[in-house]
Symmetry: C2
Subunit: 249 residues, 2 copies
DNA sequence: GAGTGGTCTAGACCACTAA
DNA sequence: TAGTGGTCTAGACCACTCC
């Protein structure tokens, strides 16, 4: 049973937005708003293409898009089906700042220190620099709705880019890096836990020895240059990480 | 400068393996083995297609594959470039069992309890069952090289599938589920930290109050039925989670 | 046997980048 | 201006699933 007949799909060939993307967005919105119900069969790619005046590859590209997002499943000999909506949300582990904003909480940042220092050995290794090379050391306290959430210790290699404390308190670091022409491509992240040191406990208003969730991340650009290395120490009592996984066999 | 000329790319049209996949694998292996160096330009999709006797869309599909894996970057007007190899490894967060095996450690499992019980409220909610519905409760101790690593508490809805303690001690749970025809499609996971309870501390040979890394996961099939819900409590001193992220703007 | 997605071809025009 | 990837077309045959 073909369900897409009941959905209003309209394409604008004059738009600079690619046709496959327009279709992909409209299908996604239809799923999101329940106009395409979970389990519904999308029906024949070829008929769909014919109805929309598109070629089949274009329609396939749109569908593949949503399959990659986990909204649709294709089964050969059966059809394309809407996945049950139990699972949604960005599957990305984006920046802490953006996560908080998206969650409707009011993030803020306090810059505790910002200085050029010689890189400690472990940092030099992570950034691919010579031992003791000069790096920018940045220590921030991240708050949500005025309540301390995490201590962020960040090291930046010399980009020629030197953010001010002011900028750092009004925007996320990644956004600043991007506007400075530094675009991270991939990152390696280690998630662990440990007990808070006395200093950390004080800064985070936790009892000494409280469990912290730690995220240590190194980000790279496409040339393989390290762009950032840092550790987030989060109050486990106030913060947890939500991940969405697609399990592909 | 086109680098692919120096790489031996041979396709077998008689093979059941799709051509785009053959090409994709050979390029990946060439990158992995350094025959295609980081930063190298792959050069013109059309010439590459011509040389291999393929059509351009087929070549594009192969390349897109590697772009999605983060091994290549495309830039319009410039070309397709090999990303620096700083970052590799499966970007999936797979099963704990497989992760350990891949890391060359010897995983083992001790089943501490396995019984049908009425679902606690929180579990019933997560699994989408009525309060008090019967579920399979499974408590395991995961070890690596004989050393306790994590306590795994798992709840399974009634699949008609009832694993034996024996099977559970020799294989990972997900592998068992799959052979029973239950195929997870996506999962939602929450990562946090907390202090160990006295019982947990004993089982994990940690001091009481030691920090634990906790992973709470609910997995769903394509129909949106919950397939599994459970919590892993890992010794933070012995275990951390490695993630590989691709940052797409 | 009928219907589905999976793969593949041989073209075309456009937008962007760099020299 | 020349070269690149981005998008799009109109077909084709195959493998698989279900009836």
């Amino acid at each position: 049973m073909d369900v897409t007949w009941s959905v209003d799909l309209s394409l604008d060939r004059g738009s600079p937005v690619p046709l496959y993307f327009q279709l992909s967005q409209q299908l996604e919105s239809a799923i999101e708003h329940g106009r395409l119900r979970p389990g519904a069969l999308l029906g024949n790619e070829i008929r769909l293409a014919g109805r929309l005046g598109l070629s089949r590859p274009t329609v396939r590209q749109a569908i593949q898009n949503l399959v990659d997002k986990g909204l649709l499943v294709r089964r050969r000999g059966v059809g394309t089906q809407v996945v049950h909506p139990r699972v949604r949300r960005p599957s990305q582990l984006s920046s802490l700042w953006d996560d908080l904003e998206a969650a409707g909480r009011r993030p803020s940042t306090l810059v505790r220190s910002l200085a050029a220092v010689p890189a400690p050995p472990e940092v030099a290794t992570a950034l691919g620099l010579a031992d003791g090379a000069e790096v920018l050391r940045l220590e921030r306290l991240r708050l949500a709705d005025g309540e301390p959430l995490a201590l962020l210790l960040t090291y930046l290699p010399p980009h020629g880019f030197r953010p001010s404390a002011d900028e750092l308190e009004t925007t996320g670091l990644y956004r600043l890096l991007r506007t400075a022409g530094v675009t991270p491509h991939s990152a390696r992240q280690t998630i662990g836990a440990r007990a808070a040191t006395p200093e950390e406990a004080t800064a985070l208003t936790e009892p000494p020895g409280a469990p912290l969730l730690t995220l240590t991340r190194t980000a790279y650009d496409t040339a393989g240059r390290a762009v950032e290395h840092g550790t987030h120490a989060c109050r486990a009592s106030r913060y947890s990480l939500d991940l969405q996984l697609l399990l592909r066999p």
